[in-house]
């Protein structure tokens, strides 16, 4: 009789060998919860049944990836963070002829649209490019559309104001039938693409990389690899922004970065 952890290992090995998805360095506690949750949703009574389904039904892989990854996000999430982006980061990027930003693990795109609004308000959107990547193609499809539920707008509008926004937030979208569509001009400078932080390489040099609440799902080894990838992808004096409870303190790249203030934004100083 093998134990639950060994069963999960077997399942992860299958995923890698059959489909090239490598979840083996994800945080075990969190990954196990996601797998247990999926088993409950799809009525598998044990991990072996789930593993069998994954091996025999390639179509099920899409659902697995969608449900295992966490796609909880919101616009202007942690408003003080966005205030700091406005006041400390974007202002300093303004002098550049061209601004390149990477949202790594962008999920359904709420934070990318938030960034586009910040850039628009600073009159910098026209000279910016926002690369937004995720390993999950379904969330990228949603992000491209820029359509979000109307019910969230009250919260997002409050976040926007708390982040220092002074416009009427509702001017950025049009509402129909319980959904809102964000202004197409915001999306003009966005490029959505699949990218897996576990296995894919650096693809450009950026002035700002945002990767918020993604590293928490990785173990320390994988966090280190991904932080090195970010280091390699940042130009001199580029900025790296992480989630509110994520940190560089365990990483070898820490010595080359300086935290800008009490928000989780670091600048590459050497």
């Amino acid at each position: 009789m093998i134990n639950e952890e060994e069963e999960i290992e077997l399942l992860l090995n299958d995923l890698f060998e059959l489909y090239g998805y490598d979840f083996t360095n994800y945080s075990k506690a969190s990954l196990k919860r996601r797998i247990t949750r999926l088993c409950a949703l799809d009525k598998f009574t044990n991990y072996t049944q789930l593993r069998y389904r994954l091996r025999t039904d390639t179509g099920y892989l899409k659902r697995f990836v969608e449900e295992i990854t966490v796609n909880v996000t919101e616009m202007f999430r942690d408003p003080l963070f966005y205030r700091s982006l406005r006041e400390d980061v974007i202002r300093r990027l303004a002098a550049k002829p061209f601004i390149r930003i990477w949202h790594a693990g962008c999920s359904t795109g709420e934070e990318v649209y938030s960034m586009a609004i910040l850039l628009q308000e600073a009159n910098l959107l026209q000279k910016s490019l926002l690369y937004a990547t995720d390993l999950n193609p379904s969330v990228l499809d949603k992000a491209r559309k820029g359509v979000f539920p109307l019910t969230h707008m009250k919260q997002y509008s409050e976040n926007y104001i708390a982040s220092g926004g002074t416009e009427d937030f509702s001017t950025y979208y049009t509402a129909h039938y319980g959904q809102v569509k964000f202004d197409a001009s915001l999306a003009e400078k966005m490029i959505f693409s699949m990218h897996n932080l576990v296995s894919d390489r650096s693809f450009n040099e950026f002035d700002l990389i945002l990767c918020r609440n993604v590293l928490i799902y990785f173990d320390k080894d994988l966090q280190e690899r991904v932080l090195k990838l970010f280091d390699d992808s940042l130009g001199p004096l580029g900025y790296l922004a992480l989630g509110t409870k994520e940190t560089l303190k365990f990483s070898s790249i820490q010595s080359r970065f300086k935290q800008t203030n009490r928000e989780k934004i670091w600048q590459k100083i050497r």
Partner: protein
């Protein structure tokens, strides 16, 4: 307990901060074990809970950051808006997935995760609150061989949460705040 206690997870919702403001000052330092506080609260702009509690005890109080090690002698606070999980190698993992029982952090999530790692060396405590979160988690703690304790409902500002836990689980103890402090000081902290 059959084995020394290594971790106490204390969960609560409305009315539990007042309990902790009484409990924490009466705990003796140094602590031979770690304490984790999982409290429902508004995702307020500033997280001041660590500051609030650290002024009341000589034991170090720390709001958790991702992958921090779980060390004895420390009181950890689950940050607002994340579930708090524990890895086999006794480090924290944060998780911003869907709310459980309308809550993030959810008591159930941390109790269940701690039970898997700590088994019989875990004590789960549930305090005042208006939600049934924690009841299932305490069942997992008990099943893994740990000990479970509820605040006496008649001493709780909101009795629902400990009442739910008590009616669905066989509690080891039902304590008021000063009994809980005495128990931690004289029996759990060695």
């Amino acid at each position: 307990m059959k084995v020394p206690c290594e971790l106490i997870v204390i969960g609560g919702s409305s009315g539990s901060i007042e309990v902790l403001l009484k409990l924490l000052p009466s705990l003796k330092a140094p602590l031979s074990l770690a304490i984790i506080l999982v409290l429902h609260r508004k995702n307020s702009v500033e997280s001041t809970m660590a500051e609030l509690f650290s002024g009341r005890t000589g034991i170090p109080v720390k709001e958790v950051e991702d992958k921090d090690a779980v060390e004895p002698g420390t009181i950890y606070i689950a940050p607002a808006d994340y579930h708090l999980l524990i890895e086999r190698e006794r480090a924290f993992s944060l998780d911003s997935s869907e709310k459980i029982n309308f809550s993030r952090p959810s008591l159930d999530v941390t109790f269940e995760s701690a039970a898997e790692v700590y088994g019989p060396s875990l004590v789960g405590v549930i305090l005042s609150g208006a939600n049934a979160d924690g009841t299932n988690g305490l069942r997992a703690v008990k099943r893994a061989g740990g000990m479970i304790i509820a605040q006496k409902p008649e001493t709780a500002q909101v009795a629902y949460m400990p009442e739910q836990a008590i009616s669905h689980n066989t509690m080891d103890f039902i304590f008021d705040v000063s009994e809980l402090a005495t128990f931690i000081n004289s029996t759990l902290n060695r």
